[in-house]
């Protein structure tokens, strides 16, 4: 897995507590961030215990725009997740 360390990632949301990560498509566009996530503690706000969580979200539209005319190499993920 290729990644780089960047301690300047601030994330726009205040609830992130520690590790954060972001994914950027390589196309030079204004909105090239397609992935964002990190660790947070939000479970207690929804009635659960105060436990740590780690999650991310992928911008579906931005990924599709980044793909352009290229056909995805593998589509089974999206297919199965849609049920």
């Amino acid at each position: 897995m290729n990644y780089s360390l960047n301690f300047g990632i601030a994330r726009g949301l205040d609830y992130y507590t520690g590790m954060v990560f972001e994914g950027f498509c390589r196309q030079p566009r204004a909105e090239n961030q397609i992935l964002g996530g990190g660790t947070y503690r939000l479970a207690h706000l929804f009635g659960g215990d105060d436990v740590a969580s780690c999650g991310f979200a992928i911008g579906f539209d931005r990924v599709m725009v980044s793909l352009g005319d290229a056909s995805p190499a593998e589509q089974r993920y999206c297919h199965r997740l849609h049920g």
């Binding site: 897995m1 290729n2 990644y3 780089s4 360390l5 960047n6 301690f7 300047g8 990632i9 601030a10 994330r11 726009g12 992130y16 507590t17 520690g18 590790m19 954060v20 990560f21 972001e22 994914g23 950027f24 390589r26 909105e31 397609i34 992935l35 996530g37 990190g38 660790t39 479970a43 929804f46 009635g47 659960g48 215990d49 436990v51 740590a52 969580s53 780690c54 999650g55 991310f56 992928i58 911008g59 579906f60 539209d61 931005r62 990924v63 725009v65 980044s66 793909l67 290229a70 995805p72 190499a73 593998e74 589509q75 089974r76 993920y77 999206c78 199965r80 997740l81 849609h82 049920g83």
Partner: protein, 361 residues
């Protein structure tokens, strides 16, 4: 009165039963297709009842009554209802033996519909389950049951150890629709990396926000060109898909989530660059500022806005802090930050979360 009256009774009963069934499904799920079917069922039920009345009271018009009942049955059959649960069989749909909120809320086998994580924890010990609350008429709509092969998503990390609690389609509520599902390990021995995670639960949520109609020229052009709408002051139109791991406060868990994210992006074929960081360093450097000021500075750093950072720090009376903060995005080795003035979170051990994370990295 002939034997045809029994045929009329059967046809009327079937029409009324289907109407009540559609209405019941709508009240329990809120699906718009069943709402439409329930409304139409009033008409078809009335037509069938009229036909039954004609066949019962006027013997000479018995065939006319049967014709009315037949017409109501035909119209009822031709009205298309977008049904769900196709994989569960016709009989299950017919008999309503499909999962819905009222049936599953207290069923331990389908914890995704249990309200709140705390109740899930009580029922399932260490297995926390992600959930998404969406209420409509007092019924929690999301969640569901069923198994699917998810080895394509997480098979690398927990081969054949996950079962998916499938989702039910949620009714559009205030311009949005959601589909939720949870992944949960079956327990037992998994791969070593998974075995260390507590709890072994994943949650996925697929959210689609529908943008409200807009007549502005900019919105139309953006829609036509496929560009995203602006974040601020514009119309948000984005589809997001996420995964989260709840309850594991270890660096291994964080690393696994990152690997899942990377694998998902790899599967799409998009060429991307993944950047990983930790907020402890930045928070430590900003610890002397007020929370509101910290948010401003973080916003500038997030946007790589050097000019804005200069102005903000100058307004705060701390222009020298820029030289400490702005190298953060370009510093790819933590040793470079150890030369920064101030109290290093790693050297001083002030942040216990950063140390195992740095060891893992």
């Amino acid at each position: 009165m002939t034997y045809l009256i029994f045929v009329a009774m059967f046809g009327t009963a079937a029409t009324l039963f289907l109407w009540l069934r559609d209405a019941r499904i709508f009240f329990r799920t809120g699906l718009p297709g069943y709402r439409k079917a329930a409304y139409h069922g009033v008409l078809y039920g009335a037509l069938a009842s009229l036909g039954h009345l004609v066949a019962l009271t006027m013997e000479s018009f018995e065939l006319l009554g049967l014709g009315l009942i037949l017409a109501s049955c035909i119209c009822r059959g031709r009205s298309s209802v977008k049904r769900y649960g196709k994989t569960r069989g016709r009989w299950n749909v017919f008999s309503e033996a499909f999962p819905c909120a009222g049936r599953i809320r207290n069923n331990r086998q389908h914890p995704t519909l249990i309200k709140g994580i705390s109740s899930c924890s009580r029922n399932h010990g260490e297995h926390g389950i992600f959930y998404r609350t969406r209420w409509r008429r007092g019924v929690q709509l999301n969640g569901g049951c069923g198994r699917q092969d998810v080895s394509g998503v997480t098979g690398k990390y927990a081969p054949r150890r996950l079962k998916i609690l499938n989702f039910l389609p949620c009714a559009p509520v205030r311009g949005s629709s959601e589909k939720c599902m949870s992944l949960r390990t079956r327990g037992g021995a998994g791969s070593p990396s998974v075995r260390r995670l507590r709890p072994r639960s994943y949650g996925c949520i697929l959210t689609r926000q529908k943008s409200p109609p807009s007549r502005s020229a900019g919105a139309i052009l953006r829609t036509a060109s496929g560009m995203s709408a602006p974040r601020k002051g514009g119309i948000a139109s984005s589809g997001r898909f996420g995964v989260e791991l709840i309850g594991a406060d270890t660096a291994m868990a964080d690393a696994e989530v990152i690997m899942v994210a990377a694998d998902m992006l790899n599967a799409t074929g998009v060429r991307y660059e993944l950047k990983v960081g930790h907020l402890a360093l930045m928070k430590n450097l900003l610890s002397g500022l007020e929370p509101a000021d910290q948010r401003k500075v973080r916003a500038h750093l997030d946007k790589r806005d050097d000019d804005g950072l200069k102005e903000t720090l100058a307004a705060m009376g701390k222009p020298d802090s820029r030289s400490h903060l702005f190298p953060l995005p370009s510093a790819v080795r933590f040793r470079r930050h150890s030369r920064l003035p101030g109290r290093s979170p790693v050297r001083s051990g002030s942040n216990r979360h950063l140390q195992p994370w740095m060891r893992t990295v």
